[in-house]
């Protein structure tokens, strides 16, 4: 019975994503049509005369009314057509697909690292107010919020690459000495493990360490802050007091009663955290020359390659929607309150 209620909720949530995706498509469409000056003149190039601009306008369908242009735009998208990246001459879809694993590996790795540090830290800080853990938590939260990601990255580079010599130079995903592993997941660390190549795994991990830490430091702050606040709130609640009064073990009160309930607000804030991470990802990729879609977009921006930038914005937005969906579905599945009222 409870599964029925839950799966219904999951389905409703999936349906709610439809208008969001539609809104994203509209905004991206407006952005493609908001090019400075005349898009047709832009795509025709500098040397084009009046007639060839007109020709390009017709080819691109820019002489049609806007709603029809929008339908064509969505139709092209459904076929995976995002236009051609001027800087490389390949289609934007190919370029993005080639670079997406690198970005995903970095982003998801950083999220995982941040979660494994921030959640225990927040819990410890909440259970021991004003202890050194609490102060450490507060320090990390303040630093994470005030430090620009690109600055943290450069500072880490200076200390661990230039001064200590522990980290490899910031030159992408893998040292020149190594060949990338056979692509299965596209994540070098996992692929090298599948291939059983320890040296390769260590090399790719070494390259990823600093960008990962930079991004995780930034991500950690909001998660730790939220965990601490949520834990403080649940620890002060009536049901925790009742559980304590009933003589349950400290461990049981903390984990089964307080922590499980405190997790819910933490998961809801993850949506905002994703938004920050995907943005900060661009900056970190630029600092460490990480060959992901972020640095691709930055390069495209420099040479005014609009199709590439717009493809990037669209794919980031879709990725964000997907991550949010995943979170909301998880939330529905673990929420102990859902299903009891049926």
């Amino acid at each position: 019975m409870s599964l029925g209620v839950k799966s219904k909720r999951v389905l409703t949530r999936l349906l709610q994503a439809v208008p969001t995706v539609f809104g994203i498509l509209v905004v991206c469409f407006i952005l493609t049509r908001a090019l400075p000056g005349d898009p047709a003149a832009y795509f025709a190039g500098d040397m084009a005369d009046e007639a060839s601009i007109e020709q390009v306008r017709e080819n691109l369908g820019l002489d049609q009314p806007l709603p029809i242009q929008f339908v064509t735009y969505v139709g092209d998208l459904l076929q995976g057509d995002l236009g051609v990246a001027i800087s490389t001459g390949q289609t934007v879809t190919q370029e993005l697909a080639k670079r997406l694993p690198a970005s995903l590996e970095l982003t998801l790795g950083a999220l995982l690292l941040a979660l494994t540090i921030a959640v225990p830290l927040g819990v410890l800080a909440a259970t021991r107010p004003n202890s050194w853990v609490d102060h450490l938590c507060r320090f990390l939260v303040t630093a994470g919020v005030s430090l620009p990601t690109f600055f943290t990255g450069l500072a880490l580079l200076y200390v661990f690459y230039y001064l200590l010599g522990w980290a490899p130079p910031p030159m992408g995903r893998l040292d020149m000495m190594f060949l990338p592993p056979e692509s299965i997941t596209g994540f070098y660390t996992i692929d090298s493990l599948i291939a059983g190549d320890w040296a390769l795994f260590k090399a790719s991990l070494a390259q990823m360490a600093l960008p990962l830490i930079t991004l995780a430091l930034f991500t950690l702050a909001p998660i730790a802050r939220m965990t601490r606040a949520a834990m403080l709130q649940t620890l002060a609640s009536d049901y925790v007091r009742t559980a304590r009064a009933a003589g349950l073990s400290r461990r049981r009160v903390l984990i089964t009663y307080a922590f499980r309930n405190a997790l819910l607000p933490v998961i809801t804030t993850l949506g905002m955290v994703f938004s920050f991470v995907l943005g900060a990802n661009v900056l970190v990729e630029k600092v460490f020359a990480w060959p992901g879609i972020g640095s691709f977009a930055v390069e495209a921006l420099v040479v005014s390659d609009y199709a590439a930038v717009q493809g990037f914005v669209l794919s980031m937005a879709l990725l964000f929607v997907a991550l949010n969906l995943l979170i909301d579905v998880t939330y529905t599945l673990i929420d102990p309150r859902v299903g009891e009222d049926s």
């Binding site: 208008p19 969001t20 809104g23 994203i24 509209v26 905004v27 991206c28 952005l31 493609t32 908001a34 090019l35 400075p36 303040t142 919020v145 005030s146 430090l147 620009p148 990601t149 690109f150 600055f151 450069l154 500072a155 580079l157 200076y158 690459y161 230039y162 130079p169 910031p170 601490r228 606040a229 403080l232 994703f274 938004s275 920050f276 991470v277 995907l278 943005g279 900060a280 661009v282 900056l283 630029k286 600092v287 977009a297 930055v298 921006l301 420099v302 005014s304 609009y306 930038v309 717009q310 990037f312 914005v313 980031m316 937005a317 964000f320 929607v321």
Partner: protein, 297 residues
Amino acid sequence: MSNLAITPSTAPRAQTREGYWHHLRYIMAENPLTGISFGLFFGLIAVAIFGPYLVPFDPVATGVGPALQPPGVSHWFGTDHLGRDVFSRVVVATRLDLLISVSAVTLSFVFGSIIGCFAGYFGGWTDRISGRLMDTIMAFPLFVLAMGIVAAAGNSIENIVYATAIINLPFYARMARAEVSIRRNAGFVQAARLSGNSELRVLFGHIFPNTLPPMMVQISLNMGWAILNAAGLSFIGLGVQPPMPEWGILVAEGANFIISGEWWLVVFPGMALMLAVFTFNLIGDGLRDLVDPQRRT
């Protein structure tokens, strides 16, 4: 918030003001950081206004010293690869950075408040349409959306301001909407309506001023984020063009030298950036303690 409400006679007003100052002193004494942050804030403003007249060197003049000199007596923050004085550049950049973020936050405050007030007060379709619009903005990773807007609208400082304003709009609109809709039928609002005020007058003359305290907190917390955002955009080469000094660009220029050990090019503008963001965050927390004692953590 009752201490900010306008009361008819002068005696209770003086009393509430007394209470307000008392509360302010209490907050300051309890958390000295708030006092420090206000000091830093005025320091930043002073540097932004007077900095360009006080710096020892012309911030864009090349060759005022030997290239890539570490910090020393004549060049406090060292010099960059073109022999420009880093200290002068960092100080002069304050004005531009604050100007960008203040204009962006002002824009999103004004438009966000108007949208949120209408949505919260009239409800119905106004609410639904504006809500959808804000949801659509929030459906993007915000920094990425700002990149897209600047790329589409053209690479200029103005567009950085607009992009930052747009991505902050939902926060203000949602807050204004929530604050207005809980007061929509409050006693003082009905009284104002009964005495013949028009709907708009009730909304902007009577309800809106009550939303200001939480909005101020939001503004201050948002300022830090707007500064980071603008600096991030110029770090990746959008908006501010070299040789104009701006913290994000200064860090970006210094980034090429960090792997050869010239740390001062990155550290000083980075620290300035951090200090500014830190100041606004602290003020935000302090203001929150002041206007909303229940939400203290």
